[in-house]
Amino acid sequence: MTDSTSWRFIDLSVNTCYMNMAIDEALMILNSKNKSPNTLRLYRWNPSAISIGYFQGINEEVNIKSCTDSHVDIVRRITGGGAVYHDYNGEITYSLILNENNSNVPSNVIECYKYLCQPIINSLNNIGINACFQPINDIIVNNKKISGNAQTRRAGVVLQHGTILIDVNIEKMFSLLNVESEKIKDKLIKSVKKRVTSVQAELNKNIDFNIFSQNLRKTFSELFNVEFQNQTLTEEESNLAIQICEKYSSEGWLYQR
């Protein structure tokens, strides 16, 4: 039996969309300089927010007026992938910041998604949801998506963040996102309802965010054979995140595509 290694666990915290993305980037930068440990971080978004992928066109994807009217923030991620609605009451986001030199992350990107999604799948299995991985970057239950994930790699560090849908409101989601044609919106909502699910929809009951967070901590620890240390951000990490946060809240970053 191999000795387990130590990673940091940052328990469920609540931030703005800009700060959530800034913290992930700050941890990635400092991990590459050996100033920040391998970390599993869990977080929620307040206000609720839309995050769009690095390459997505904001006007193509987001109904900006509807977001403004609903007090929903919008942020562009550092990672590719699609638009996600992060409802404060409806989802948990996780991020993993792992150094390629001292973790076992596969170098192949698709293999890496599968590897890093497995603890989430186990966490869902633990509460009675039969989830599995679907390439490229999704976790599904009976062909319905319950988790989307996005990954980037810089300077020897893998950042993967993703969403776990706890309770999803498709109508609300579609009121905030743009659909190519309003004529097909109703049809599309029906179609998406057949392709998206949540913990609540699968179990037909609400689950406690904190209990599910501890479930995630446990499965990550077991599967990757790591001991988690419960810690918060260091002063250096917080200061860098505050600096980077300015980028994420700027119009130049948001409207670049």
């Binding site: 690095y54 390459f55 193509e60 698709i110 490229i136 980037t152 810089r154």
Partner: protein, 95 residues
């Protein structure tokens, strides 16, 4: 002067979406922007491809090696280099 504003999109089977918005001005690409939910590492490099293509003649044989060479040392997930080329030459006129 003939200016065409063009757009096109592709959904790759078992892959991702990729879209293009661009302008052809007297057979020269005067503007070009790719968007979509694909993955490319490093992310910041996409703007370099768009700069490389801007100002080039709208000619398949000229653009093909530029795009292929660009992606030689990059990692693309969910779309292929050929999709970036195909989008330029199979377009729907917007205006």
């Amino acid at each position: 002067m003939v200016v065409s504003t063009l757009k096109n999109s592709l959904k790759i089977k078992n892959g991702k979406f990729i879209k293009i918005n661009y302008e052809i001005n007297n057979n020269i690409i005067s503007k070009i922007k790719y968007t979509g939910d694909f993955f490319l590492y490093p992310e910041e490099s996409l703007i370099d491809l768009e700069r490389l293509l801007t100002g080039k003649k709208f000619e398949y044989d000229l653009l093909k090696p530029i795009i292929n060479n660009f992606f030689n040392d990059k990692m693309l997930i969910g779309v292929d280099a050929s999709d970036f080329l195909q989008l330029i030459f199979q377009n729907d006129s917007k205006s």
